[in-house]
């Protein structure tokens, strides 16, 4: 139990911090209890095996995993550029990358619609040349989730790269390793815990994505309706179903975060 060891070495925590900290904790716990309190336990198995929920679950799993994979392929190199490359306007680039964290997701969805929609800046020409249509499709769901979730990965990995002592990389390079080999054999293994933590956060954010999805990808059962959208729809028709789906989302996200924390986070 590292918690006990630490409290022995640093003495007792100041009472004010304990009170304020516990208030902070309560603020997170009470809404969860509010949800638990309304769970219709008897009806839950039926509610969660309805076609709407199964469709939404399938789409949520596919879209959140795809968004995490895309974020990994293009987000990690972006984090590397931000941490290691020197270029003008880096501060602005970094702000743009973190913007989706503070923007209302609806704004992100609107921006995606006007950029990648059928009449959009990029989406228009793309649609004319390839016939591809982003909104109202699974692609739209994946893009919306990637847009809001990837900053978590970029920030986490960039932070890890900053904290990484470059002497190991320099040593490997001095021994004749190519730049790619240094990245593959030294850099990536050394930032692995942060990389995995970042991927977990990215996945969790993508799994819970609502605003950008409903704005950009629309809301259609079996095609673009993910679990959060199903909760939103159910809230106005069957509140028990909304609570049951919410419960599942809390449960799944919590399990993933706890599992990863024990294995990889420090």
């Amino acid at each position: 139990m590292p918690f006990q060891q630490r409290s022995i070495t640093t003495g007792r925590s100041p009472i004010l911090l304990v009170v304020l900290g516990l208030t902070g904790l309560t603020f997170f716990v009470v809404p969860l209890l509010g949800l638990l309190w309304r769970v219709p336990w008897k009806r839950t198995p039926d509610l969660l095996t309805s076609q709407m929920v199964l469709d939404a679950l399938r789409l949520s799993v596919i879209a959140s995993l795809a968004a995490t994979a895309i974020s990994c392929v293009i987000g990690v190199p972006l984090a590397w550029l931000l941490a290691r490359a020197e270029f003008p306007g880096k501060a602005i680039v970094r702000s743009i990358v973190t913007l989706p964290l503070v923007l209302p997701p609806v704004v992100g969805g609107t921006a995606l619609l006007f950029a990648l929609g059928r009449r959009g800046l990029v989406g228009g020409p793309l649609n004319q040349v390839t016939g591809l249509l982003m909104p109202f499709s699974l692609w739209g769901v994946i893009l919306a989730a990637t847009f809001v979730a990837m900053p978590f990965l970029v920030i986490t990995v960039e932070g890890a790269l900053h904290n990484l002592d470059e002497k190991h990389e320099r040593a490997a390079a001095s021994l004749g390793a190519s730049r790619w080999m240094v990245i593959r054999r030294i850099t990536v293994p050394m930032i692995a815990p942060s990389l995995i933590a970042g991927l977990a956060l990215t996945w969790a954010r993508a799994f819970g994505e609502f605003g950008a999805t409903v704005t950009f990808a629309g809301n259609l059962q079996g095609r673009t309706q993910t679990l959060p959208l199903a909760v939103f729809v159910a809230l106005e028709s069957d509140r028990d179903a909304a609570v049951a789906i919410s419960m599942i989302m809390v449960f799944v996200s919590l399990i993933v975060l706890i599992a990863l924390r024990d294995r990889w986070w420090r």
């Binding site: 702000s95 619609l113 929609g117 629309g218 809301n219 059962q221 729809v233």
Partner: protein, 261 residues
Amino acid sequence: MAKIWVVIGLVLLLSTACSESSSEYDSTGSFAPTPSGEDQVLVSAATSLTAVFAELSSEFESANPGIDVVLNFAGSTALREQILEGAPIDVFASADRSNMQRAVESGEVEGRPEIFARNVLQIAVSAGNPADVTGLDDFARSELLIGLCISTVPCGELAREALAKEGVTPSIDSVEPNVRALLTKVEAGELDAGITYLTDVLFASDAIEGIDLPSGQNVIAEYPIAVLTNARSPAAAAMFMKFVLSGEAQSILHEYGFISP
């Protein structure tokens, strides 16, 4: 450097957000405590009433200087939920009978609701009608991008009723949470057609065109209004309701495309 930019960006974001919301509050009256002698009437009205109720409330306020009308717009279902959860609302104007009926059954309504307006459906397409939509039959064309309001709000319920009456099974591509969200996507040209109210199309931008439904195919929306039992200023609330039913208010509603009951 990086931190400075983030701070500047956040300050700009927050300042625009604040100025926007404060100007919005000014147009509907302030939420600050009113000076003594001034009654405040809190009106929850359906989204499709946004434009016309803004005008109705300013007309009412200038005729009754002691009363301040504050407007709260959302989908009728969301408004009904807020009322059932105990929101301190004085007047409820719904876009359908069923949400009003739920409020009546829960004992939230003082007296009886009255229908103050009717509305009809219209097909909304983007300017120039590029997909060549002519009627409800086109909603079955799978190559078109079709949107409807969600079935839990009145515009979605009525649209499905009209389609069912014609025996059309729509090939839906998106189900939007409310009328405004649906109009925005038709306006942007992302959806080829949607079904909204005539009044929404009338006051939408030039990027939207309306296609009338033959009267035999159309479905009529009825808007009931009522004073609520939780009203903080019941007398002023009753005055506002009476005004909405008056000839003066009816002619304003008519200008906005609504039909008198």
